[in-house]
């Protein structure tokens, strides 16, 4: 059990000190994801508050695995909710929330930091990096990605896949799973 999992076990017992440690360790991640997606400081602060209150009120939402990966998804999904509420587009044209409670094996890179990921991203070909970042942080579907970048849909999907493999490969060199 890693540190965050041990802390979450205490949070489930309503341990405020454990929760505070979780907050201190992960609030910048939550805020950063929200700010990148929403480009709105106040909305990002609201997301940060909402995510952590959710962690406190429903700690069972995190079952096991990498807490950082889990809360990153929760933050993205919460920001996506706000994008949905703002969007004039039909819901069907907006991406589905990422599974935060995934039945599939939960694996994630350990000891990641923002700079390592940014450097790894920088080494991707621009056409792959742009699609991946816009897809993840833009809260839009692959079809919308194709429209916005004037790229055939098949090419968009292939570049996303190739780019994610390349990113994983780049990260494999500096961090471990």
């Amino acid at each position: 059990m890693d540190d965050a999992s041990a802390l979450m076990a205490r949070v489930r017992k309503r341990d405020a000190a454990a929760f505070e440690e979780i907050y201190d360790a992960y609030h910048r991640l939550v805020y950063g994801v929200a700010l990148r997606m929403l480009d709105d400081v106040s909305a990002a602060e609201d997301v940060t508050q909402a995510v952590f209150l959710k962690v406190w009120s429903s700690p069972e939402g995190f079952t096991s695995g990498n807490f950082g990966a889990w809360i990153g998804r929760v933050a993205r999904n919460r920001a996506l909710d706000i994008i949905r509420s703002r969007a004039a587009r039909p819901t069907s044209e907006l991406p589905e929330a990422m599974p935060a409670e995934d039945a599939l094996e939960d694996v994630a890179f350990a000891n990641l930091d923002a700079e390592k990921v940014r450097r790894a991203l920088a080494r991707l070909p621009a056409e792959q990096r742009d699609l991946i970042e816009l897809g993840f942080f833009g809260g839009i579907t692959h079809e919308e990605l194709a429209r916005r970048t004037s790229t055939p849909l098949g090419t968009v999907k292939t570049r996303i896949r190739s780019g994610l493999h390349r990113l994983r490969s780049e990260l494999n060199g500096v961090v471990t799973i």
Binding site: H27, V41, E45, R73, S92, P95, V107, F137, I140, I160
Partner: protein, 258 residues
């Protein structure tokens, strides 16, 4: 499964992992992953890379609305948490969720109270009889000071206080009282002090106000001797000891309050 079919599903799986599929397509891929080991392995391979993307957005700090925005978010969250926490589950000793200057002001109140109490307890009866008059006078002064300090703390913490933030602090107005609360201040050059300036509504120039020095932690809390409602600008500059009649250096900050 032929190769072309496989590639198409693998590409869709990648888009699913990235969270870039509309609900209808996502449902199809999700069902498919339950039965196709190959695509599931692809998803498992890509998911860590997607989760790493979130890390790339990690902010240096939360809150860009002001120096205390980060603490304010945490304060709001922890308020709820502490109300619902298990008995005995106390938070670690932590930084100040209050601004440093509030703590500084509060500590002055405590120091005054403790000094008076210690003085009384350490006096023997004979000395006490002879010093009653003196202590009584000191106590009145201390009580007045403590009342002022308590008022200051209450004003600084009040939700209904108006706050005008600048880079390293804020001007706080509550009712007709006004304070400058600063942190991260550097000691002024030798022979110099900080001086506050205020400008009344409709005035064209700033009037000199109190001079002061930050404490050794760089914190200063100043009560301005003005009717706060009549002030439109507040500034602080570095001036020679004794103060100046007009600012002689570029102000550290100028805040519009009216």
């Amino acid at each position: 499964m032929n190769s072309a079919h496989n590639d198409e599903l693998m590409d869709l799986t990648a888009a699913y992992a990235l969270g870039a599929l509309p609900p209808q397509d996502a449902a199809i891929v999700r069902d498919h992953l339950r039965t196709c080991a190959e695509c599931r392995a692809e998803y498992d391979a890509l998911r860590p890379a997607v989760d790493a993307l979130a890390q790339s957005a990690q902010a240096c700090r939360t809150g860009e609305n002001g120096p205390h925005a980060s603490d304010l978010i945490k304060a709001r969250v922890m308020r709820t948490v502490r109300q619902e926490a298990a008995p005995g589950s106390t938070s670690r000793p932590r930084p100040m969720l209050w601004p440093a200057y509030v703590v500084a002001a509060a500590s002055v109140v405590l120091a005054i109270g403790t000094a008076v109490a210690n003085s009384i307890l350490s006096s023997n009866l004979h000395q006490a009889q002879s010093q009653i008059a003196l202590l009584s006078g000191e106590l009145q002064v201390a009580n007045r000071n403590a009342a002022v300090q308590r008022q200051m703390v209450a004003d600084l913490m009040s939700k209904d206080a108006q706050r005008f933030a600048f880079s390293d602090g804020e001007v706080v107005r509550r009712g007709d009282r006004m304070y400058i609360a600063m942190h991260a201040m550097h000691p002024p050059p030798k022979g110099h002090v900080y001086q506050a300036w205020t400008e009344e509504n409709g005035a064209k120039t700033m009037a000199p106000s109190v001079t002061f020095m930050p404490d050794r932690t760089g914190v200063a809390v100043i009560s301005l001797p003005v009717n706060a409602s009549a002030i439109q600008y507040v500034a602080v500059s570095v001036e020679p000891e004794g103060g100046s009649k007009q600012p002689t250096t570029k102000p550290e900050f100028v805040v519009k309050t009216g």
